[in-house]
Symmetry: none
Subunit: 211 residues, 4 copies
DNA sequence: GATGAATGAGTGTTCATTCAT
DNA sequence: AATGAATGAACACTCATTCAT
């Protein structure tokens, strides 16, 4: 089971698939082309992958799971920290920065895969993955927001509160997407993080004050 | 040419096309379905529209041009204003707010068409229209940024300056997209603008200070 | 609409389809072969027929409808006659014979099509058409049976009655199938009808007596 | 060869195959599914069975052979009896009834397998097995018919004789098929046999008289 | 005795587009 | 201004079968 030959075939298929998905996007990608490029018949592809979608998930699934793992850990840690929060607490951004750096590094390690997920997944089962992450962040940011505002419960949030927090969650996510799609290297991305942090922290204050 | 009959046919085609594009997105939309729904043959469609892409542009082109017109006017006006700018000038946000309201109203007047452009255009020649608008805004924002920073020329901008301005341009655009896609009505969108303004102004200050 | 050209194409497709369905049966028939034989592209086929099943129905639908029409008429007429039935009524078989002859003539007029329906329809939406006809005959034969038995209502039928009537309905249908598939010509079939009538009438008496 | 392991594998394959053939019929049955369900690889299947057809015969072959054996015995016995036949001989139906009961019992013992043969074998080498049995019965019934008619040789049979005897042979077979496919249990089937016997005996008399 | 990988031809179906009329 | 017929390539996917190990 899983000898060198089959691993090789799978690897060739994934490489070839990645290339095709990047070039044409999920929908326009042709399984025939992918197989031809991999030097394999369509039957072989279907031995290893259930269908087109499964192949796509084969390409991006690993990196996606890694990202989810980091975010989950981060959210749990920050939740722990929120419990110790008092109005006088100095906001500690160092942790957030550390996580941001971690995420950026991950994004650039699998740059192609994440770009696939962000811009080429339309038509696949992962086409809404970015929104799903943003929605998850939204839940978390709501907690943060309530704590900072001194709300006892999320039920105290107004419609306007909810809307702006939702926006900020999305924006947070968009920052990483922007870094990934507009920086040539991890190095450059890490250099730009600081300014972006300045921006969103400014934004948070703008919101907290005015609301 | 252009008698009542043909206008009617075109109108039916555009309606039917809009419906299909909304339902399935540009790529998966079927011209056959569009024609069937419009009660017209494919030949008729090809008499009025060069190809699928042309039909798509027929649906969203008008609203898109209106938007471009507003943005252009706004940019030209603000450019005029920038010339009168001195370090002591009180920043006048009223104009910006007025424009934002104008844009929001426009977006909601043709809600379906703009959503088409934003989320369903993949595969068409307009798939990058949002990025193009953002890039245009970027040019403009660079001017604003330089003026506020007291730069004599754009050439004084560092790589970091350019990056953060680019981001802010994109983010500005994203705000409108967010309003369009997350508010049910123009009314609700207009209510949320204020908080978003608080956010991005906070963001600008965060950036200007820290850079 | 429906000019000579298109009619010709449809005709060629139906001829070619009939041939292929006869040779291989519905399931194994290849639309590609059918199109190739008809000198037409697959696209053309799909312009005239919704799918494989529709094509099959295009081949056998007409004859099938004719048969249904005859049966329906026959059933209605016999129902009328039953109302005038008294225990002393001499059973009039002439009408039945006339109908049988009519049916046989029809079957042989479209011999190929009916054979298709009877033996090659597996996999299509018409695969159970013979059973459906038999079930319809069953309803009718139940009426006849009850009248002959002097039952006031079908509810008087025992389980055994129902079973044997069901069998006889099926058998009646099978006679025609047997004639179609074992006689070379209409002429020969008509010659054999008499003996078969002797058989089933004998069968009826055997049943009526013993039950 | 033939140790416990292999027997188990074969058994699992046969079970799984039976299930799939019943569900989808011979043609649409998928060997892949059968293997998956049996928890076995395709290679294993091909070690024990030559091909799809061989597997099908593996499922239904045993019961089929048992049936052939009964029929053969019965035919031989009846042939023996025919030799002692004189015009005055009282027809002894008891033997026939006994055989019929024996057959019904067999059919219901392997109900699934026989239904497979009757209704789901299309595409396999056994698709005509019912007709073959009927044809064999036909040979036998010709003997019976000639004896009863006082013919010295089968050559005295007219075309019409042959036809009606052929029909009766088929019908005899169809009775068993009808019992199998329309009765829920052996018990119920045995209860219905009597009426069916009344029917075909009536049919025979109808034929003998009229010819 | 059995595995797991691979074949390669085949399936029905859909598509945007063209063009003579 | 519009029809209706036709193209032909492409699509994702399934199949029974083979074979080295």
């Amino acid at each position: 089971m899983g000898n060198d030959n089959s691993k090789e075939t799978i690897e060739k298929l994934l490489q070839s698939a990645k290339k095709e998905f990047i070039e044409k996007g999920y929908m326009k990608a042709s399984l025939r082309n992918i197989c031809k490029e991999a030097g394999v018949t369509t039957g072989a592809l279907y031995f290893f992958f259930k269908d087109k979608d499964d192949l796509f998930r084969g390409v991006v699934g690993g990196p996606l799971r890694e990202l989810y793992a980091i975010l989950e850990t981060h959210i749990l840690e920050e939740l722990e920290e929120l419990k110790r929060y008092t109005p006088d607490t100095e906001v500690n951004l160092e942790d957030d920065k550390a996580v941001a750096i971690q995420v950026v590094k991950l994004l650039f390690r699998y740059k192609e895969e994440y770009e696939l997920l962000i811009t080429k997944a339309q038509g696949s089962s992962l086409e809404n993955v970015v929104d799903e992450i943003a929605d998850q962040m939204n839940i978390h940011y709501s907690d943060v927001f309530c704590t900072m505002k001194g709300y006892k419960s999320k039920k105290q949030m107004t419609k306007e509160d909810k809307f702006i927090v939702h926006w900020m969650a999305h924006d947070q996510v968009d920052i990483f997407i922007h870094l990934l799609t507009h920086c040539k290297s991890e190095k450059e991305a890490l250099r730009q993080i600081r300014a972006l942090f300045g921006y969103i922290i400014g934004g948070w204050y703008g919101v907290i004050k005015s609301s």
